[in-house]
Symmetry: C2
Amino acid sequence: MPLPVPVLPEGVDPAWLPPAAFRAVGGRRTLIRGSGPLVETVHGEVAEACLRFGGRVVRDAEPGDGAYDLVLDLGGADDPEPLGEEGFTCAREGGTTTVTAVGGRGLLYGLFHVVRLGEAAFTGEQARERHHPALALRMLDHWDNVAVHPVMGQVERGYAGGSLFWEDGRAREDLERVRAYGRLLAACGINAVAVNNVNVHETEARLLTDRIGEVAAIADVLRPYGIRTHLSVSFAAPVVLGGLPTADPLEETVRDWWATATGAVYEAIPDFGGYVVKADSEGRPGPFAYGRSHADGANLLAAALEPYGGTVHWRAFVYDHCQDWRDRGTDRARAAYDHFVPLDGAFAAGAVLQVKHGPMDFQVREPVSPLIGAMPGTRLAVELQATQEYTGQQWHVCWLGPMWSEVLRFRHRPESSVGELARGGLIAVSNAGDDPFWTGHPLAQANLYTFGRLAWRPDADPDGILDEWIRLTFGPGPEPGLHAVLDGSWRTYEKYTAPLGVGFMVQPGHHYGPSVDGYEYSPWGTYHFADRDGIGVDRSVATGTGYAGQYAKPWAELYESPDTCPDELLLFFHHVSYGHTLHSGKTVIQHIYDTHFEGVEEVEEAREVWDSLAGLVDPVLHARVAERYEEQLRGAREWRDQINSYFLRKSGVPDERGRRIY
Amino acid sequence: MPLPVPVLPEGVDPAWLPPAAFRAVGGRRTLIRGSGPLVETVHGEVAEACLRFGGRVVRDAEPGDGAYDLVLDLGGADDPEPLGEEGFTCAREGGTTTVTAVGGRGLLYGLFHVVRLGEAAFTGEQARERHHPALALRMLDHWDNVAVHPVMGQVERGYAGGSLFWEDGRAREDLERVRAYGRLLAACGINAVAVNNVNVHETEARLLTDRIGEVAAIADVLRPYGIRTHLSVSFAAPVVLGGLPTADPLEETVRDWWATATGAVYEAIPDFGGYVVKADSEGRPGPFAYGRSHADGANLLAAALEPYGGTVHWRAFVYDHCQDWRDRGTDRARAAYDHFVPLDGAFAAGAVLQVKHGPMDFQVREPVSPLIGAMPGTRLAVELQATQEYTGQQWHVCWLGPMWSEVLRFRHRPESSVGELARGGLIAVSNAGDDPFWTGHPLAQANLYTFGRLAWRPDADPDGILDEWIRLTFGPGPEPGLHAVLDGSWRTYEKYTAPLGVGFMVQPGHHYGPSVDGYEYSPWGTYHFADRDGIGVDRSVATGTGYAGQYAKPWAELYESPDTCPDELLLFFHHVSYGHTLHSGKTVIQHIYDTHFEGVEEVEEAREVWDSLAGLVDPVLHARVAERYEEQLRGAREWRDQINSYFLRKSGVPDERGRRIY
């Protein structure tokens, strides 16, 4: 039975799968061969498209039996090199486009490949191309709470309404929209979802045991889209849920408890992906309480998952969040490396160490985490943040493709990029919720899409992905304008917020809007040390915290000196005077002023471009974005004026160009 | 029937009415004459004391009928000058101490006067003394929410647990503790209580109408202690509760609605005190929405209350809370004066304008509000804040007696002190809650007590009140130590927090702990304008916002110039360089450093004194205070280091004495 395409609730945006995206497929004759659940998904997609656009779909005939424009052939792959479960080939010969795959996911991805190509898939002769994902795990972590948290709300750092999965304290009864979400994710190549917040509170802890049925219901609707379900669990579960006196990972009773609990999980969800764990971090329980290492902790869960092929994703986000700001010897940027490098080689095969891309916490600009280049004996996953906690919270346009691409292409050593080192997968914190546009700001959909495509191919050109997203979502009409609006938006956001790699100049708590000293005297380890003479954190080996020395050469040498450190990271690595001259030729203070004025001007220009797209995009969507541009512009001016006033007051150096600073 | 003394729940502190306080009365022979509910209250108090200490109490005999140590005589006053309902006389002759009063409240206050005197009331001959309150209204405003507010909690700015009045969304079933609270208030002279938050939310609005029965139940238990009950109401009540299309104070339907609603209130509570209104302030509804003045608004409610003798307390806390920090022309300190002085003479007799003691918002140091001296044709009440929103939140010892006394003795013009100008009463925001010690920090009880006594006699010596409170609460043993700990605590708190009249260097939102720039770029109108050269707000007429000109001479002239402005208010009135020399001979920057080091040292000393009191006070209370001293000391060091670091970084001026600044 073909799986029907999900029906979106009235008013919910189709995102990058509007009906028009299926025009080329839907108007043609398609043969589908093979069997299995995902073939039914493929069949349902093609059948729906044909209903709309007048084509036909046939099942399981021999390719020679008739004239087909498109053959989607599961098991038809005769490629000598194995494509894997998720790969596919695509070729066009004699008027027929043929997609072959050995696995159902591969066939589904092949279909969406053809959808992306549109008419181009049905033009001329095309030699066979092989496609398969560079990374086996392409995952979204949802920081969704089941019970609404009194401070953090339902979705922690969520800017797109409530949770897609949870409502009124339990899994949604109607999971049709979750199914639609799974379809969107499959269309950009994502194959795993963790359905609850890494900060596992009391209610959510129970998803692991007596409430696993709710997780299974979600897994059931995601499975036909090739998506496996993962669960964030509490390291203290044996105590909290099991009533044991300890969660010590070396205790036999604890190991038994996890083995039994995990067995029950797999009974409910046979293809369950595994656990996500935030341990000994920001107050979460962990192995330190028992004098055990994080390898002990991770291996405990890996052992429980091992019989079923599951994986534990163990987050490396471990640092002292009760630091004394007076203590300049402790450097939060060093923490993940200092904690985990000594454990390299000690993690079990089923344990993946999940590392944030930067050493701090998803700032608009950070260096790439040195930990990623320093764990050759460990499976690593790299974590990005699609939800815009520090990048405008989905009220500001900030397309993160270029930043993520920079991270993924970064080579800790000449032979290996981050994209290659992330053997345990690429993960993003999701930016989606039950908002009608999925992501609050409609253009933030581009981040979700781009993440999926970069996870499939980390060395892909982000610009190309952006155009692909625009064409799928909006058709060809508004492409140049949308490209202009999105392409430079990350650098624009950086300009009017955080200069030269300094971070955390945000309002404490909610992180929206500027507060230069907001985290300066806090326990969070996030300081800029601005005084009347200069600003920045000395992280050199020679005179600073030594963080620069956590990198391999040439980076360690490059970052060590202000003379060679890239401008955009200067204040991350060095404390310099306001008069310090950058490679750009500007002084630090003038750079601060100039970028803040420029950033606002760029937002003004982008808003004008957006205004010019009225009539070329859906009017409801246009209005939503236009409304958010008002706020973005207000916010950008607030950033500009606060940052410039702060540094003028502190430095006393006037703007060379005499612009208004308050 | 004598009214039984309230029974405190197990573990609740008796505050300043421990059984021992009644020893002198309870061991003697007392005659009570007169009738009425408050005489029964008096009788119950004396009877309880006699039960405990072996004395006797007789009712309504003639004084000559036997030998009495104490005669409490209602109606016995033959003083030619009327004492009023609340006054009493006290004399001792021939071994008998006689209290006379014309009203029940007067008799109750007379009894507590004798209790305060203790043995001294029964010694020698004493000429007749007349006592009556200088201010007719001595009121506590409770910022208690009925429904717990998601951000502000149950008691807005409350630091003493939940509400005494409200629990689980309604008035407490068991009001015995409210009765005990009323008794404590009567013993320090308070005669009015507003039972809900001036920010009237949806649930609380309904107290005025269908939930008035709950207010009546509270009024019933407070009445025997001479306390009238008041209610905070929403100016939008005719719309929100009455379904009218408008709340315009000049609309006949609106006036009728208030008249009817108020009639129903008085049916439920015949001695109802009146309304408290926060209008057009921080988002509350008010007459501005209809183009009407605040006199129009207040007079609307005064007219509704007038037939019953009730009063509306109309708060003057009106300012622009959405100010742009870039706009240096707007000065929040000016706002109350600018709004209300043009309305002088326009308020009805039943309307009282309730003015905060300073022009801003209960900072640790502010000048006295110039509005208080500028409304000769208006009944004014002055509002103090017992709850320690900006003065340590009942984790830090900060006895506010000296500050309040300074305010009340301040003479806007030579002929009239603030205490005299407050013809509409003295009001404090309560610091009490359902905490076992009533006020979180046990020593914060001193603020509640001191407020009551100063409201009775605004020119009283606060030091004497402090000693009175210590003796009543703790007996004579720990008096010198406690006096030392409390007496200088406000100035100590000022030292380690806010120098020279600068305010609002607090963490936004909860206001606990330092954040020098926390409110600097905010919409709240609270700025210090610190830059690398200097700090402070120029409020002079000559070059600043003109606020100094709102005072009469000589204050206007004194505040106008940094040469004559008192040191402690310098930064409130002037922006000066860090090198500016104070009258003390110190520079501003050195004053900042010195006071912050001194403040911490003084806390350390106070803690040692407190430690030495172990064994002299109840051990549970001693432990609670000792615990809070730990936090106070941590907090004081945090204040010291953040403030000093901030100003060292900004000014670049080293500490003359070379102490550690981070």
